[in-house]
Amino acid sequence: MSGRAPVTAAPLARLIEAFHRLPGIGPKTAQRLAYHVLRAPRDEAEALAVALLEVKDRIQLCAICQNVTEQDPCTVCDDPTRDASTICVVEEPLDILAIERAGGFDGRYHVLHGSLSPMDGVGPEQLKIRELLQRLRSADVTEIILATNPNLEGEATATYLARVLNPIGVHVTRLAHGLPVGADVEYADERTLSRALQHRVSLTAAPAAADEPPEQPADPADAPPPDFD
């Protein structure tokens, strides 16, 4: 029946609405979070509010690698012990955390802030590709590791970047593709399996060079056609 006063107090309704706008938060979860904040001690709510504002006020993009950072340049770009001649290109800042957790990489990073998704209107201009090219002009970089996701958008981004970077003369590499740890060969799709076979590694005592991938068959030549008239 119209005309009744809303059951939920306005400030609480605004908080529920704010939580509901966050990704992955449905209406019920938004209500639970809002009531949790309501019941929590004041200092806990204040800490949350301050943390939210600090993220907006103090976090910026590193002018060199485009990662999110509090100081510019970021701690990775400012670390003289890291190899400045190797740059690992990732889609998102969270990818850096994953690679750092894995260990084994002591170079520097470049964050694209997305991947090419033409059908969603994300083209090269929307990514931090221009900043990468500027960085290559000013720094002595010998290798670019493309660590974009092994899906259609990530592959499109990697092949586009390889096309753009190759004329510069820098060595461009791509993270290997293969079967994930713990997976079943039986359920692997044919592209993953064929790439895993192409990039197989030798287990014999004397290290052997990985087999070269088979050459792609050449495109069939067009039949000599007449001019269209």
Binding site: N151, L152, E155, A156, P180, D219, P225
Partner: protein
């Protein structure tokens, strides 16, 4: 008769978008049901058994369970993965353009078998043939014919007189071509005689015949501009992947007819 709870279909995966933390919504084009959206559970997890089979621009065999709002993909097996299309940015950009056309033009429908075969054929050619832009142009024309929005190329859209190749103007907003007598004062862009003949040929000829036509770069760009205008006026919006095709072209010397 109520829908069966579980059904099997072939499909081409047109695109995906994220759903929650681990799932994705797959936009599928199927021969019996047209364009449908279905949930792929856990597709973003590294060990997903479905993810590798459901990449966009893949032809798959699916089993789906009917859901309340969206159907759920329970099994998937890739039938054709078009590997060269995925590994080459020139081929991939055109493949994405073709997929976006189908995504934008179609909706849930009962029988779209012919358009489905056209789409699979276009992806197969983009995967293995040369002359990528001509493959896309022919597909565009066939799609426009299928949707009933093809440009009128036999008679003038203003006076209905029979058209000859010379001196016409292309006027997609009016539905086709203006004859030399009517083009003055009406909106339209110049249409060369070669482009006129080629567009007319593409409306009736199978791809094999069109592929034998030698098309120089200027003619290729002209029919691309004309057909893109028809597509945009039919959709009333731009095709986003067209900009990506241009960006990919800009990264290499201008393509020729025989470029991949």
């Amino acid at each position: 008769m109520p829908n069966p709870r579980i059904y099997r279909t072939d499909a081409v995966v047109l695109r995906q978008r994220r759903l929650g933390d681990a799932d994705k919504i797959c936009v599928l084009f199927t021969p019996q049901r047209g364009r449908i959206e279905a949930v792929g559970k856990g597709l973003r997890r590294p060990k997903s058994k479905l993810a590798g089979h459901l990449e966009p621009l893949t032809k798959v065999s699916l089993i789906l369970a009917t859901g309340r709002t969206l159907d759920i993909i329970t099994q998937a097996e890739a039938i054709e993965t078009f590997p060269a299309l995925h590994d080459n940015i020139d081929r991939l950009s055109r493949g994405l353009y073709v997929a976006e056309l189908v995504d934008r033009f179609t909706d849930t429908a009962s029988d779209v078998g012919e358009l489905y075969r056209l789409l699979v054929g276009a992806l197969q050619r983009l995967n293995e043939s040369s002359g990528l832009d001509l493959i896309v142009r022919w597909f565009e024309m066939q799609l426009l014919l299928d949707q009933g929005v093809q440009p009128r190329l036999d008679t003038c859209v203003h006076c209905d007189s029979d058209l000859t190749p010379e001196g016409n103007a292309f006027a997609p907003l009016l539905g086709g071509v203006l004859c030399p007598g009517c083009r003055v004062g009406l909106p339209g862009r110049p249409l060369s005689a070669k482009a006129f003949k080629l567009l007319r040929f593409m409306q009736t000829a199978p791809y094999g015949d069109v592929a034998r036509v030698r098309i120089d770069e200027a003619l290729g760009r002209e029919i691309e501009a004309h057909l893109r205008e028809v597509v945009q006026s039919a959709l009333d919006q731009e095709v986003r992947a067209a900009g990506f095709v241009e960006a990919v072209r800009a990264t290499r010397p201008l393509p020729t007819e025989s470029s991949p």
